[in-house]
């Protein structure tokens, strides 16, 4: 049976000799939520960058629905249906909020009218309708994060990669985000890969977890199993688990 998954196989990435990723293999299936966790500097962001064509691979391959997309330029990979957000928000600061969201829709070939309609629905969904004509750069941090996710969704992606979407949000905002994110994969028939340090968010949201440490996979599997994995507890959950 042909797979409709996103697959990153045996990925290695180096930065001037330093191995940031070492033989990492990760799969995301449609409608699945996968959490990518690990200490700072373990290579999570680099893995997202490797999948989206933003850093060159030393080894490995990336495929989408069995089609090789390794080393394609980022814009081509985006058009194949992979959207992302950035660890440090990257909005178009001098465009209005609605123009920010439209951009992804337009890049995918939608007409101006379709892009406008789609963006208005997304603004509504994310509770941002009253911000439509603000400039991207003028938003609060939490709003910027939400606009970035809405923008990624305007491309109607089949896979969405979110790099620490809850970073810098307060508890209420995080809960609201969790609520929104949990519905997205089924409603929109997409696979979601999410990086975050908020373990309670990750545990409540994700079907599967993938744990990196120093650029290597140290565990991968169902969320509850990972929680009990001694290697993970030592490398990452250590301090928190010991006090729990």
């Amino acid at each position: 049976m042909a797979s409709s998954s996103l697959k990153a196989v045996n990925i290695s990435v180096e930065f001037s000799g330093l191995r940031a990723l070492d033989d990492v293999t990760l799969t995301v299936d449609p409608e699945e939520i996968v959490g990518l966790i690990g200490p700072n500097g373990s290579g999570k962001t680099t893995l997202v960058n490797a999948i989206t064509g933003e850093v060159p691979l030393v080894h490995g391959s990336v495929s989408l629905r069995e089609e090789a997309i390794t080393s394609l330029p980022p814009w081509k990979i985006a058009l194949k249906g992979i959207s992302r957000s950035f660890q440090i928000v990257r909005l178009f600061n001098n465009l209005t909020v609605i123009e920010n969201i439209e951009s992804a829709s337009l890049a995918h070939g939608d007409s101006l009218r379709v892009a406008r309609g789609k963006s208005e629905r997304l603004l509504d969904e994310f509770g941002l309708s009253n911000r439509a004509e603000e400039l991207g750069g003028a938003l609060s941090y939490g709003d910027k994060r939400r606009v970035e996710i809405a923008r990624a969704l305007a491309a109607d992606p089949s896979f969405l990669l979110l790099d620490e979407p809850a970073a810098g949000m307060n508890e209420a905002e995080t809960d609201a985000l969790l609520h929104t994110l949990s519905r997205i994969p089924r409603d929109r028939k997409l696979g979601l890969l999410i990086i975050d340090h908020d373990m309670s968010l990750i545990m409540r949201l994700c079907h599967r977890l993938h744990v990196l440490a120093s650029g290597r996979t140290i565990a991968a599997g169902k969320a509850d199993e990972i929680r009990r994995d001694p290697a993970v507890i030592e490398a990452y959950l250590g301090a928190k688990a010991a006090h729990a």
Binding site: P73, W75, N94
Partner: protein
Amino acid sequence: MKRNLLTFFILGGLILLAVVASQVVGIRLYDRVATNLCISLTLVLGLQVFMGNSGILSFAHIGFMGIGAYASALLTIPTMMKGMALPDLYPFLKDVQLSPYIAIAVSGLVAALVAAIVSYPLMRLSDAAAVITSFALLVVLHTVMTHWSALTNGPRTLFGVPKATDVKLAALVALLALVTALAFKESRTGKLLRASRDDERAAAAVGARIPQLRWRAFILAALFTGIGGALWGHFITSFSPRAFYLKETFLILSMLVIGGANTVTGAVIGTFIVTAAYESLRGIEGLLNEAKVSSQPVIGLTEIVLALAMMAILVLRPGGLFPTREIGALLARRFGRPEKSG
């Protein structure tokens, strides 16, 4: 949409007002100033299409003005005069003589075609590399104009270009440039290009093919600049390659940058302000010289004051007078009920 119409009516109204006023006053000088204003508007709006939307400073622009001016001259100088004006002209061009109006349009297309070819490999460059290569392109275009004697009469002045540009034609073209610049900004290409101006990486991540977008804008900009150059040629009727170099580049850039490159409003207002300042400073310079204030003639006052004004504005308001929003949107936000979209 409504806001864009409002912007168009305000800026278009301003242009018409200036032109009508110049005619009502009925002084020849004002007619010349108004025509020059409209030609400058065409050039500055062309530059805005590329620079404002892509965020890349381009020095090459005035080179395409030169291409337009020479192309239209070649297509319109009467056959009898060509032997004198261009002794080395290729035989197949000797008998060409088009109506200036057709020639002006064709010259825009010629400039656009040259732009399409020479700029294609440059459009993947950003930041300093893009600026320097655009400057290199200006040098190349200038050098070619200076030495391709068969087509340009070399560094010498080319005479005999028929006079065809009046203030009405110039105003009509300026209004066309205004509509096009506003429409391009709101087009798919324009919106994505503006996204890439703000953040290249994020734009690529949403699927924007940036070099392609920039290329389209560059070609459209060259089209308008070529037409602007042709208009100018048919207004001034004799010129040499020196007209299309650093001095003109600085003038056009200062108009755009003082007004605010990111907005069409900025391009128009900047052109008005700098044209007014330029003409009054030249007047003052003339008066000072007549009054013999100093034993030597006062020269360069205009350039220096303009340069200082540009520096002052950029220090105080780095984005220019209209850095982000068009006049229509500003007014709608201030006075109107909040419009839900566009």
